[in-house]
């Protein structure tokens, strides 16, 4: 929660060093507090529903409950890349570095979620398919997204906090976002082991399973928003600190 502290200076005020003392002054924004409270309640409810409300799958048994964390992780891993691409487009159009901070924050957070999606998927695959990994279209395209995330982070780290780095990152995210619809459609385009989307198909899943999944998706999306705010604040503060130090030198 301490992370939710927000610096009071506007970015535009930080050209000179006079605003430096304001940077360490902290205030807990109400929006972050409300979001954190909703996230805690949502996650608690999602966990309770996953273990006590949703029925045990007749074929897969207990490991089917991995579904309630695996699907939100994969959804947020893909959503985060779309956020990166949109922020990249807005950065290239407006040259406003705040969009670059959004893209950097989304890259970090998205890497965490897509990594967890791959690990939980592997654990589920071991129990259902009897293997940790298979070169299935859905798994392979998701692994490609993971490599793209890591490549993006390496590129941004190597190039530093410069306009050229922001432009390169924006272009990379706009080009590579094409992998997201490919991941989504891979189960329809190719014959895969991975199950097809069953949510929304009438009668495919019991109502309690769909409801639990929707609650879990909402709760983890709220958690994603909380993490994004913290990561954005960090990116912003790091850039401003670097600029202040450069001004002093």
């Amino acid at each position: 929660m301490a992370l939710a502290n927000k610096e009071t200076s506007a970015a535009g005020d930080l050209e000179g060093t006079r605003s430096a003392p304001q940077l360490t002054g902290s205030r807990l924004p109400l929006v972050s507090l409300i979001l954190c409270a909703l996230t805690v309640v949502g996650i608690a409810l999602a966990l309770w529903m996953a273990f006590f409300y949703a029925p045990t799958d007749a074929i897969e048994g207990q490991p089917q409950r991995i579904f309630y964390v695996h699907v939100p992780m994969a959804w947020l891993g893909m959503l985060s890349f779309v956020v990166m691409a949109l922020a990249g487009i807005l950065y290239l159009r407006r040259r406003d570095e705040r969009w670059d901070w959004v893209a950097r924050a989304a890259a970090e957070t998205g890497t965490v979620f897509i990594t967890l999606a791959l690990i939980t998927g592997s654990l589920w695959g071991r129990t259902t398919w009897g293997t940790w990994w298979t070169w299935d279209a859905r798994l392979t395209t998701t692994l490609i997204l993971w490599f793209v995330y890591v490549g993006y982070l390496m590129l941004r780290s190597y190039m530093g906090r410069t306009p050229a780095s922001a432009r390169a990152g924006a272009v990379m995210s706009i080009i590579c976002v094409i992998d997201v619809p490919i991941i989504y459609e891979s189960v329809n385009w190719w014959r895969t082991l991975h199950p097809t989307a069953e949510v929304g198909t009438p009668g495919a899943l019991p109502f309690s399973v769909v409801l639990t999944l929707l609650v879990s998706l909402t709760a983890f999306t709220l958690l994603y928003a909380v993490l994004m705010i913290q990561a954005y604040q960090l990116q912003r503060t790091q850039t401003l600190a670097q600029r202040l130090r450069a001004d002093l030198e």
Partner: protein
């Protein structure tokens, strides 16, 4: 123990451990940047004192 339970437990542990580690990593980096800002503040004060003298 129900069949496959260790995999279920491992999945939930990995998710929560991963998310908490990332949150901790963010907190550590935020603390480091705040420490850097405090050092910059001190430099600013020193410069301002120097200008007055």
């Amino acid at each position: 123990m129900p069949q496959g339970f260790p995999y279920l437990a491992a999945a939930y542990i990995v998710v929560w451990l991963g998310l908490l580690l990332y949150l901790g990593f963010l907190a550590l980096r935020m603390r480091a940047v705040r420490t850097e800002l405090a050092a910059v503040e001190e430099l600013v004060r020193e410069q301002q004192r120097g200008e007055k003298d």
